[in-house]
Symmetry: C2
Subunit: 333 residues, 2 copies
Amino acid sequence: MPRITVLAGGVGGARFTRGLLAELERRHPDPAERPEVTVVVNTGDDMWLNGLRVCPDLDTVMYTLGGGIDEGQGWGRPEESKRTSAEIAAYGRGWPWFTLGDLDLATHIVRSELLRGGATLSEATEVLCRRWTPGACLLPMSDQPVETHVRLAADADEHRSGDLVHFEEWWVRYRASVPASGFEQLGVEGATPAPGVLEAIAQSDVVILPPSNPVVSVGTILGVPGIRDALVTTSARVVGVSPIIGGAAVRGMADQCLRTIGVETSALAVGLHYGSRATGGVLDAWLVDETDAAAVPPLEAAGVSSSAVPLWMRDPASTAALAGAALDHAARV
Amino acid sequence: MPRITVLAGGVGGARFTRGLLAELERRHPDPAERPEVTVVVNTGDDMWLNGLRVCPDLDTVMYTLGGGIDEGQGWGRPEESKRTSAEIAAYGRGWPWFTLGDLDLATHIVRSELLRGGATLSEATEVLCRRWTPGACLLPMSDQPVETHVRLAADADEHRSGDLVHFEEWWVRYRASVPASGFEQLGVEGATPAPGVLEAIAQSDVVILPPSNPVVSVGTILGVPGIRDALVTTSARVVGVSPIIGGAAVRGMADQCLRTIGVETSALAVGLHYGSRATGGVLDAWLVDETDAAAVPPLEAAGVSSSAVPLWMRDPASTAALAGAALDHAARV
């Protein structure tokens, strides 16, 4: 049975994976012959908020694959009420700029109770997925808390240069508009990949880096000791899909993240940042958008097989086609 | 400055206290001359539910005095949504028969976070009350968890004779319809009255037992080591208001509770159950309803000053009048 592993952040990774599952279903109508998909999900955005463990990317992937996502905003559940959040704010508690919807809240309550009862994040995720049946195995990158923090670079409002804030504060509260000097993965030194992560990468035929944020999603996953090495040594073909089209992030604020680590916001630069497995990087192949076709020759020259295909995930059909292109390219490498 | 202490359970105690505060405001328009009121609240119904600390009586008193109560049902907030509870149930977690409204839920989330952060229940209650400004000092009977459990007496559905269940399970799930052989206050041996409880009782001019459940509300408070003794020795006048009118509980299922401890459901029997302070009980006086006027002579004969007054708390005016009658009777003892 062929296996496929995806290293995913939130919205982009979730939508890509949904397209991948649709494409696999189309290509393999018999479920017994359909490749198994494992999604290794970034947990660097996780946080304790009001005593609840919130896992933004795990939930976005779970809801998206399970049919429970708010399609418009890309995260949370459809038509949520903010009444509970407003009540918490009325008590003067929590982060008023980070709102939890009333349906989503139940996920955090159940997960937090499981974690406090001694379950690992992997185990809690499995319990939650029993309800959502996402059609893929969702694994947190690690069962240990590894929380991305942002080192602020410049004075901004009440913050001083050099302050370290949780990634979600920088991302949601400041919309990544406060210059940063770097990212720190608090807790990463003692973290290990969650059970099954290294095995999934080692035993897959194809590993896909979907169009997730290369710094604070895929980059965070690669920062967990052992995961980058697993990508370097796996016999799988590793195919990435550029999250940058025409010099701009498809979604979110990847440009601010790339600027912070000194990488240009371009499909070429991100591909070279990941690098060729032939020279210690993690990529066999890198898909760029048709508008970035000029990036193909220099990528090939750097040892990264590349092709220019339509990258916009406009709808289920175009997303499935993109996933199919990634699979087809992997088969050609 | 005169002081008044009330030992309260949920709805009955909360509504009586609201009437008391209104009556005190009417009698003492100058806030500087108005007696201070302390409400010692039963916490025997408290529980951890889905990792959240739920304190039914504290919240009922806080919401009622703070203007945030659902007047129709007597507990919770008005017009709550049950969507979050339904989501938790969809995960197969929690008690499906115990629903938390979406507004009320915020109170539990904030309290649980405070408790996990090291606050005592007294301190957490004070933080919550900053928002609700209930006009009285709310004290939990104890900062230690003392949870009332019910020893089931007879076979009933999936339960076996002798099982011990949380009070809320017996009360809410079984509507107290499963015969019980007794109540147990788990944790009571090591519990002490919360800071301020004994002082409030000792320094009050009047202590009132409002028409709360004499077994699982007031009885539970009296079970905390030191509180009954404080009532016996205080220089305050201790006045109780019967929760039984015409042989039936004004509200709730007090008759099942009384039956369990072998006390008849009558204003007389409950008054005698509390007993006269002259003979080791806790009452100086006991108010019964006009329909129970026949109970006055035997109560007086037992050393409990008694009078028959209108006990039904039909509206704010009748409730304030009842509180006034309790104060007036205390002044005459």
